[in-house]
Amino acid sequence: MSPTPLLPLSEAISRHVHDGDSVALEGFTHLIPFAAGHEIIRQRRRELHLIRMTPDLIYDQMIGMGCATRLTFSWGGNPGVGSLHRLRDAIERQWPQPLALSEFTHAQLALAYQAGASGTSCAVMPHHDATDLEARARPGVRRLPCPFTGRELTAVPAINPDVTILHAQQIDAAGNVLIRGIVGAVREAAMAARRVLVTVEERVETLAAGMNAVVLPAWLIASASLVPGGAYPSYAQGCYARDNRFYLAWDGIARDRDAFSAWMQRHVLGVPDHAAQLRLLGVAA
């Protein structure tokens, strides 16, 4: 078994993320791979199908920078703050280009990843007439009767991203990766993917992982990159907290197309990498 190659992030993205790919940068509020998303923006990937339960600021940025033509999601706001203005501009006014939507509920999208991770074509949950999403948003869920009880079920189609990208706290010498804290659907998104890329806070000799910890074995991972602060402005439990001030400030930046473009030019396109961005923002210690 060969150890996971530790690649510079720019090389990992150029090698593994291609125009037109379906890409899931997962992490539920926690461990959002911002550095990887910014590198995708710098490399000007186009026509991506972005998949995330909560698009968050990272997809607001990628959509506003023209990387995406399709979005699969289940809740598209700035958590605790309000709208994702770039996402709204794309849906309401097709700026910078039209964005096709596949919209689910959280429970459905979690199930879609589980189905993808399990190698089955769909997964089921009880059906209820709870929401217009099924009829009007057309996420592609279907109804069928339970073969045992006859009760109606909702079948959610499997999601298998071309690439899933995660941020994690630690990688060991053999390339195994540890994720600690709120895990969201990251394991399912990773196991569903054709290729898994990770960015990590630090490299250690051995992981001090509990027996039931979330560990991705090295042989599941296509490439790993050492990117301290790679989840900023989201957070890495045990390393740094969520920058709630940044999430509040983003509302003002993203509201206006010119302010947004200027911010992205200066803080993403205008810097060589994530460390330079953190220094520019005054966040690097």
């Binding site: 849906i91 589980q114 209820h128 007439d129 929401t131 709120i182 602060g229 907290a241 690097a284």
Partner: protein, 263 residues
């Protein structure tokens, strides 16, 4: 602000907190629901079990989270479970007593819209969407709704039904097989509404001190039914206000703390 004066947000939060019985298992949304649940936990309901959809179960945060998944929630939780589990094993399996929701629009049967204003394909305003709300509204044994009342938010017809209340009323929800019993109360900045036992149409059952029925009617986009015996809801007690203000002060301090990352 004096100990007896209070803001509309404060009386809404306190009124919502009073609806929570000690020991209940509560699925919490961010914003006013989160403030109300933690106020209840810090006052009359110390054994309230708070679950946030980030998979954090039994949280006891010292400050209110800005997002549904702040580190504070994980650090103070009994356990942190994967997202598919929180929806399947806890919510769908029927282990949640109270779901707490807000929305952009509500109709007279307490159905909610948090998806779009206007047409779905070409919306005038794209809202964040359903997230966990459709399943919370379906599976929680009962639901509390907290939202500000205005003709724009209390509408005669939803642009989109994100989450169900009583559907078309008169037992339609129960007939549809929804496991939970539906919204028990809607707490607004004017007072409280509850579903009528037969029609299930929301009716005004209480007003805060100094608020008139006419004002509540004017803030509602349908002809609002008013209960025969309209209560005056009690103002916040000094202890509740003090606890809420301390919690919010701690929260402001924590959220203003600069982040430093060693490279």
């Amino acid at each position: 602000m004096s100990a007896t004066a209070y803001t509309p947000d404060e009386i809404m939060t306190v009124t919502a907190a009073r609806q929570l019985a000690d020991g209940a298992v509560c699925f919490v949304g961010i914003g006013l629901p989160s403030a109300a649940c933690n106020l209840a936990r810090l006052t009359h309901a110390p054994n309230l079990v708070l679950i946030y959809e980030s998979g954090t179960v039994g949280v006891r945060p010292n400050v209110l989270p800005l997002s549904i998944g702040d580190g504070e929630l994980a650090e103070t939780a009994t356990c942190v479970v994967p997202l598919p589990e929180i929806f399947a094993h806890y919510l769908q399996r029927g282990r949640v007593d109270v779901g707490f929701l807000g929305a952009a629009q509500i109709d007279r049967y307490a159905n909610l819209n948090s998806t779009v204003v206007g047409d779905y394909a070409h919306p005038a305003v794209r809202l964040p969407g359903g997230g966990g709300a459709p399943e919370i509204a379906t599976y929680a044994r009962e639901v509390l709704i907290i939202m500000k009342q205005s003709p724009r938010s209390f509408v005669s017809r939803l642009d989109f039904r994100t989450s169900c209340g009583y559907l078309g009323g008169r037992g339609e929800r129960a007939a549809s097989g929804a496991p939970g019993s539906g919204p028990r109360a809607v707490i607004t900045d004017f007072g409280m509404l509850r579903p009528h036992p037969d029609s299930q149409e929301l009716e005004l059952i209480g007003l805060y001190p100094g608020i008139s029925t006419e004002a509540a009617r004017a803030a509602t986009g349908w002809p609002l039914q008013v209960a025969a015996r309209l209560e005056t809801l009690p103002p916040p007690e000094p202890r509740q206000l003090a606890t809420l203000r301390e919690l919010e002060a701690r929260t402001r301090t924590a959220h203003a703390r600069p982040i430093r990352i060693p490279l």
